[in-house]
Amino acid sequence: MRARAGGGYDGIPAWIYAIAAIGAVFVLLPLAAMVVRVDWPNFLTLVTSESSLTALGLSLRTSAASTTACILLGVPMALVLARGTFPGQRLLRSFVLLPLVLPPVVGGIALLYTFGRQGLLGHTLQVAGIQIAFSTTAVVLAQTFVALPFLVLSLEGSLRSAGQRYEAVAATLGARPTTVLRRVTLPLVLPGLASGAVLSFARSLGEFGATLTFAGSLQGVTRTLPLEIYLQRETDPDAAVALSLVLVAIAVLVVGLSYRRPLAALVETRTR
């Protein structure tokens, strides 16, 4: 296996390939098992039921909204974390990444006690006439909360590996900081930003725990695809499996896109 065409010596012992293969099987087998379990003759009927389509549409809309929110909030955060110097920077980074390791349910509870009616900002929001609980906004908030670290992490990595030499050159050429950001920094890290956004989108799409805890579950308003799957499972396991496969397909598509080279090339030509 080591002497693949076009690849010379790779220095990887054969047994490493064996273990890696086991790892790959571990990830892929459950997916395959699900594909086998799908009720194919009725697949289309199952996934195109009114409730399924409503849930899918809601999932796509809210994920798009939360990805936008992630970009708006995450780009400045990544810039500050990667380029800025201020006291407590390390601490801030750790806290920003917290939602990544936090159980989503805990995130949902935290959001509930922040934006909920009895929450920290609840009264202020209520006075301002803003009702977040049980609204689609709550879904977007929950998704943004869990997806934001993906964008920040991905972009911060790109910013660090890109270095600041181009920015220094741009500044000496007379470009003010905002111009440098717009014309140099962001185009340079666009691939990182794109893959970060795609990951955030995928994470938003899969968000379940925080949404269930914080936003509730109502068809067309807060019941996203994962919640619909969870509910369908109670009475119609076949529908649940079919919808799961749809979610898997979207996730594969989205993640595949972010790691394909042509995407980076596409992004590059667009910036002309």
Partner: protein
């Protein structure tokens, strides 16, 4: 119409003061880690010194001595930095790269493109306007970088070893180009290459350990180096000592003077590791052509070409000449001849002579040079810049 800067960074032992007149190009030379790039970064506004001030005409770059402190952002200084690597923005075409400065200054896209094309023509590559940096060779990319720097119409151009990353064929082309565009332009060029200094600079500064140790017009520094580094650039042997009444230099190698690491400071006559030792005929005195300005008792410097040195196995007599007993450290080819290195001194002899004498590292020989081939001049021709 003068640019002046003085800056200190205590932690790096950096302390420099320098002026550049309008239209003047100054070359900064010095060993690695001397602080050359630090100086450029300070001037460009990428690095903030502990204290100091810099000003071009009426524009204050920074003033950290006064209160309140003034610090002008890089984009407001009118200095453009051209580095060893072209650092062209990879997502922009050559034309957009060159047009970046004018666009940043508020010029319309059309006008900027027009100007960019003018500068690409100026550096002889208008046909590469639509190429991306990834499609350019190293030399082409550096030309685009030069055009980009000039298109920003800088008041002061900072070049940090612009030729260092180029291959042996591209460097001369770019050097010729720079010679053309730097004429009558205020610029500071950091370089390792004496050729850059010769062709491009009006004046040379030599830096070492964060300080300017030597400064002067290019010709003068090369003819009369005052540091080992400058002597090395000029290809000269350099000795320091005290000027005596009879036109010699005494106490050679034992004096500090303007030279930070004087040759043979370990002491004459007993140096086992091949360093230059004063010949037994002249003690530690060096005879040579004394410059009229040199006064007895003053610190002085003696220089002579390696090609003026003859190598003998025995002390050579007959006046006026200098004879140094040395131990050979290295032999290396040098333009058809063999360069014999003995510590900080070197001698060039023909290959056949080297073979006849059986020269090899470790053996003791005498370096002999006629007094007429040695120039002696004062060490402290006070540099204008520190």
């Amino acid at each position: 119409m003068t640019f002046q800067v003085e800056a200190d960074i205590a932690a790096r032992g950096f302390s420099v003061s320098l002026q550049v007149a309008a239209g003047e190009t100054v070359a900064i030379l010095g060993p690695n880690g001397a602080g050359k790039s630090t100086l450029l970064a300070i001037i460009a506004g990428l690095l903030r010194p502990d204290s100091g001030a810099a000003q071009m005409n009426d524009k204050v770059f920074f003033d950290l001595n006064g209160s309140p402190e003034i610090w002008t952002q890089p984009h407001e200084r009118g200095t453009v930095l051209l580095a060893q690597e072209p650092l062209l923005f990879p997502h922009l075409s050559s034309l957009d790269n060159v047009g970046f400065g004018p666009r940043s200054a508020g010029m319309s896209r059309r006008e900027a493109h027009g100007l960019a094309l003018h500068w690409l023509t100026e550096v002889d590559i208008p046909e590469l306007a639509d190429r991306r940096p990834a499609q350019l060779s190293g030399g082409q990319a550096q030309r685009v970088a030069v055009a980009r720097a000039l298109a920003a119409s800088p008041d002061l151009l900072l070049l940090d070893e612009p030729m260092a990353a180029l291959d042996i064929d591209s460097a001369p082309l770019l050097r010729r180009l720079l010679k053309r565009v730097l004429r009558d332009r205020r610029a500071i060029i950091v370089t390792h290459d004496i050729l850059d200094a010769l062709m491009l600079a009006d004046r040379i500064l030599v830096m070492d350990q964060g300080r300017i140790i030597e400064a002067g017009p290019t010709r003068e520094v090369l003819e009369r180096p005052r540091s080992n580094f400058a002597a090395g650039l000029a290809g000269l042997n350099l000795l320091t000592g005290v000027v005596t009444g009879d036109g010699a230099l005494s106490g050679v190698g034992r004096s500090g003077g303007a030279v930070s690491d004087p040759a043979g400071s370990r002491g004459a006559g007993r140096d086992p590791d091949g360093r230059r030792r004063a010949g037994d005929e002249g003690g530690d005195r060096v005879f040579g052509q004394l410059d009229a300005s040199a006064l007895p008792g003053q610190q002085g410097i003696a220089v002579f070409l390696p090609s003026a040195v003859s190598v003998f196995m025995e002390p050579a007599h007959g006046s006026p000449r200098n004879s140094f007993r040395v131990t050979i450290t290295d032999l290396e080819p040098h333009g058809g001849q063999i360069r014999i290195r003995a510590g900080e001194l070197s001698a060039d002899v023909s290959a056949s002579a080297a073979a006849d004498l059986g020269l090899e590292p470790g053996i003791e020989v005498y370096f002999v040079v006629k007094a007429a081939a040695v120039a002696i001049y004062p060490a402290d021709a006070g540099p204008r810049d520190r």
